[in-house]
Every structure is written in C-alpha cells, then in structure tokens.
Amino acid sequence: MSTIETSGKAAGPVGDTSSAGPRNVSPDLMAMRRRDQRRKWSEIALFTSPALILFALFVVFPVASAARYSLYKWNGVKKFSEAEFIGFENYTRALWGGNDPATQQAFKTAYSEPFWQAVGHNVLIIVASMAIQLPLALIIALILNRKFPGRSIVRVIIFAPYVISEVIAGVMWFIIFDPYGIATKFVESIGLSAPDGGWFESQTWGIWTVFFVVTWKYLGLAIILFLAGLSGVPQELQEAASIDGASWWQVQRRINIPLIGPTIRIWVFLSLIGSIQLFDMVWVLNRGGTQGQYATIATFMMQFGYFRKDVGFGSAVAVIMFLISLLVAVGYMLTVLRRDNDNSEVAR
C-alpha cells in the first residue's frame, strides 16, 4: 500500500506518471509504475463510466435512432424491423412535397406548407427577439443599473417569471387571452377591438400573441443577466466619463454597452437556440393553433411524429431542426463568440 502512495506522490498530484521517471529505471520501479498506471485508468473508468454510459444510452443513441427512423415509413405501432425503407422521402416530403408528381400537390398542402409555416414562425420569434426583446431588456437594465429604493425587490420580482414553468405561464395567458376574457375587455375599454377570431386563433396576430407571452416569461432573465454584466463594469470609468461632461446616454453607449458585449452575445446565443426549439408554451397554447397559426417546428414534429403516428416523418423533421440549431450554434460560436473566448484567454 505504502509503496503505491509514495510513487503516486513522486508522480505529481495530477497523476502524470509518464513524464516523471528517469530514463533508466529498475524493473522493480517499472512494475510499480505499471501498477500505478493500471490503477489510474481504473479510477478514470470508475469516475467517468456512469456519466458516459447514461449519455451514450439516453442521449447519443436516441439522437442516432431519430436519424435512422427518418429514413423509414414507420407508424411506431408495428415492429421497426417491418418498417419500409424509403430513403430521403420523408425529408423531401417536408421540404417540397416529395418527388412523386402524382402526390406532390396533395403532400405539399398536407406536409410541406405547414412545415414551412412553422419554420417561418420560429424565424419570426428569433427576429422579434433580437429586434424587440434585446433593446427592451437592455434599456431597462441600463435604467435599473443604479441604486434606488426597492432595487432588490424589483430584481427579484422581474426575474420570477423565469422560474415559473412554460406550462403554467401558458395556461395563465391562455385564460387572459380568451376571446371573451379580460384582455379583450381591456382593449375594448380603450376603444380598440380584439383580433378577429380570438387572440391566438387570428391568422395574423396569433404568433405575435405567443411572442408576447414568451417575452413576458423571458425578458426578466435577459434584464438580470445584463444587470449582472453591468455590475462588472468599473464604476470609475462611468464617473470619469460623466465628470468629463459625457451625457447619460453617451456613458451607456460608449462604455456600458460595449463592456457587457460578451454577456449580450451569450444571451443572443441562448435566445437563438431557445427560439428554434420552442415547444412547451406553444403546445400548451392549444397545440400551435387549430390551423397551426402559431405552430413551431417542435410542435409540428410532435403533431406528426407522436399524435399522427408518422414516426418516420416526425423524425425527419426532428433531424432538420437539429441540423438548423447545430448550424446556427456552430456558426455563431465560430464567428461571434470566438472573439470573446480569445479575449478572455488573453485576459487570464
């Protein structure tokens, strides 16, 4: 026992046995080192295997299975071995109605158009997040970034919706935006009228109503993240600038906003990925609408893959969604976030 410990100590605390020893070693020492190596590897296996096994079985394997299912026509009821291999037909059906002229028009209406409608909704959520949520959260954070009475309570309450589940938030707003509910009464009381057919069911306004609910739930997170970033900006910089006669807005624009750039860019990343995968809230809000007025890619996938038992087609949609988020994530990391990481490497 003790020999191992001393050798372990000689090898250094990080367990690096390979580079520690001198070139000519006695056979005795060699055996000890080998034993030490074996021991190290068994420890590594012991520590990493539960996580790696779970990860392989319940993350990697299902994702790979989704890719496989997507090449078959399978309803999920009969055995998968009896499913019919159809190549990329599920994909072409989603993208342009398939290649068979006999069914293309019908498939276009049934599959391809709702698919692109859903994609469009995700894109709209992304664009609206960047164009509306980001400036709104930023300006609120800049205003709140100072000492004022009740500051901590404001922060706590603003952040609270983030902890409430999308399901609860969804049900709550579904009641508020009921066609005969309080939202309708409110707009009527100020002389406007609610969208035709109801807030969610409206072909034009449905997705915007969803965006409103998403904003209610996630704006607080953005504000708190930005405030945390702002708290890291040195106070002296702002004071020096205002002594030099810079206006409030100049201080924000030239000092605060650039200095919390990394936080903003991370938020953009989180928001992009979240928007692409948006599911819970939309599903709770009447499964994306009776005619998919505000369906997203994820709810579209569930509609077909689970409830209509077209597992092959649903999986193809899932894979497309995966590829989109991968493309966006990797592209964003390589172009935008890379700069931040390089900078922080230097700073450290």
């Binding site: 026992m1 410990e5 100590k9 605390p13 990080v14 367990g15 590897w41 420890e43 590594i44 012991l46 520590f47 990493t48 539960p50 996580a51 790696l52 779970l54 990860f55 319940f58 993350v59 394997f61 299902p62 989704a66 609120i140 205003i143 709140l144 000492k147 004022f148 009475p149 309570i153 922060r155 706590v156 603003i158 609270a160 409430i164 589940s165 999308e166 399901v167 609860i168 049900v171 707003w173 009641i175 508020i176 009464k185 209610w216 607080g220 970033g229 708290s231 205002s242 990394p262 991370i266 989180l270 979240g274 995968q277 709770v284 569930m302 689970y306 649903g314 899932a318 969604m321 976030l337």
Partner: protein, 301 residues
C-alpha cells in the same frame, strides 16, 4: 434552454452591494434618474405580478363572476375552489411526483456529473479532451430531437408511466452542462491539498469523497439548482411518458390534464394553476440568490 449554458467561471461575481438606498450625492441630475429607475421598476413589477394576481384572485371567483366582473373583487369569494383541490388527493399526488422526479434528477446529475468532471479536471491522460468534447457536443443535442426514440426506448424498458423512466433520461440530458460547469470548479482545488492527502495515505478515490465533494459545494449547488428547475418545469418528456393515468403525472402535465377535464370551469383551472405555481415560487424565494448567481455565473463565460 438551460442545455446551452457556456463555460462557467468558478465564482459568480454578481454584485453583492446590498444597499438599496438612494445616494443623491452626485448632483441634481441624478435624482431624475432615480425617479426613472423607480418608475421602470414599478411598471416591471405591475406587468409581472398583474397577470399572476389575476390568476390567483380568479381562482376565488364563480364562473359567472369571472365573465361579469373580471377586474373587481370576487363576489362571493369561492374558497371552495381551492379547498376542493387541496382536499382531493390528486394535486398532492402530482406535487409528490414532481418532487421525486426533480430530486432524483438533481441527485443523479450532481453525483454523476461531478464524478465525470473530476478526472477530466485533475487527471492527465490520453483521450481526456476527447471525452470532454463529447460532453460539449452533447449541449447541441436537444431533448426535442431525441424525444420520439426515447419514447420507444423507455417503452421497451417497460418504464412508461414510471417516474424512473423520466428521471434517467433527464439525468442524461443534464450531464453535459454539469460536466462543463463543474470542471473549472474542480480544477481550482489546490494541488497542495491533494499532495497532503496522499502523504496522509488517502487514495484518490478517498480524496474525491472527503475533500473534493465538500470543496466543490458551491458549484454543485449551482448545477443542482439548474437541474432541479429544469426537471420541475419539464413538460415534453412527461407528456410522452406519463400519459393516461393522472395519478402518475407530474404537476405541469397535471395542470394541462386538469385544464382539459374542466374546460368549461375556467375559475377552477385558475385555482389549480395558481396552486401549482406556489412550490416553484417558494423554492425561488428561498434560493433566489443562488439561482440568480448560478445562472449569471454560468452564462458569463
């Protein structure tokens, strides 16, 4: 969305300055910005709390009262709505299920994630960065993509309708974030401690249990809180795995189930939803600092 947090620094440098006191020492111009901040804060509070209060108060109304006078005080106060839900076992049952799933997920994630992060942080071996990279790419694998196959896997394992069928995949999907957040924490533990421990005859496994786990507690709390919230709010996986029997559902699923069953009794739905919100809000108020620090710390890479 928590599946996409970036690398974390060991400490979260959020502001700890506690004084919400106005300091008008920098001239008159500052006062107007204090007023503006208070104003914006009040609007924020109103927009956040307004809908929630409407929901809670709505739970006390009769259906007729909700349509005729939705903004006034309830008349009469229907304590019955809440009392009935609390008297029936199903709400408590679903609360209990949610708690079991969230705790099971949290314990599993924290334990397995920290274990995996330990050699990745403190051992030097061939393939270390490859394993780490496997977890980093894992961030890119959303549950949404895997959910259909997962449904069949869990079904084949005979775990449909069981809480285990939910806990195990949830652990697996939370592992990447955990490993990525924990690695810098574990790396920050001084080497001298490990040397001292090995002089005292402690093995590395013993060192992990007796020294690393206690020292890495702040990090473990952060990832634990993230995993707990994620599990508590989860909907997609329960939707596929726990269908049919309301007794086996978690709260979010229970809410939509209740909504479907009582489609015409809006005020009852409001009461049920309000009650389901309470545990999360209590948890949040108790751990507010930890949650906010954890999130901001995890995001500010």
């Amino acid at each position: 969305m928590t599946a996409t947090l970036n690398q974390a620094p060991p400490v979260s440098p959020t502001d700890e300055s506690p004084a919400p006191v106005a300091s008008p020492r920098r001239g008159g111009g500052m006062n107007s910005s204090v007023i503006l901040a208070i104003l914006v804060g009040l609007i924020g509070i109103a927009l956040t709390l307004g809908p929630v209060l409407y929901l809670i108060v709505g739970g006390f109304r009769t259906q007729g009262n909700l349509t005729s006078n939705p903004t006034g005080l309830p008349d009469p106060w229907m304590w019955q709505n809440y009392a009935d839900i609390l008297k029936e076992g199903i709400f408590w049952r679903q609360l209990f299920n949610s708690l079991v799933v969230a705790l099971g997920t949290t314990i599993g994630v924290v334990l397995f994630g920290t274990m995996a992060a330990y050699p990745l942080a403190r051992y030097r071996f061939k393939g270390r960065e490859v394993i780490y990279l496997v977890f980093v790419t894992g961030l890119m694998f959303p549950l949404t993509v895997a959910v259909l196959p997962l449904y069949f896997i869990i079904k084949n394992l005979g775990l449909t309708g069981s809480l285990w069928g939910l806990i195990i995949p949830q652990i697996a999907f939370a592992l990447p974030v955990t490993v990525i957040i924990m690695r810098p924490f574990l790396r920050a533990i001084p080497n001298e401690l490990e040397e001292a421990a090995s002089v005292d005859g402690v093995t590395r496994v013993g060192f992990f249990w007796r020294v690393v786990l206690p020292l890495a507690r702040p990090g473990m709390i952060t990832v634990g809180v993230l995993a707990f919230i994620g599990s508590w709010n989860a909907y997609l996986l329960p939707l596929l795995l726990l269908t049919g029997d309301a007794e086996s559902m978690t709260l979010p699923l229970g809410v939509t189930q209740f909504q479907g069953e009582h489609a015409s009794a809006t005020t009852l739905i409001m009461a049920y939803t309000s009650l389901s919100m309470v545990p999360a809000l209590v948890f949040f108020l108790l751990l507010e600092r930890r949650i906010v620090d954890g999130l901001t710390g995890a995001v500010k890479g």
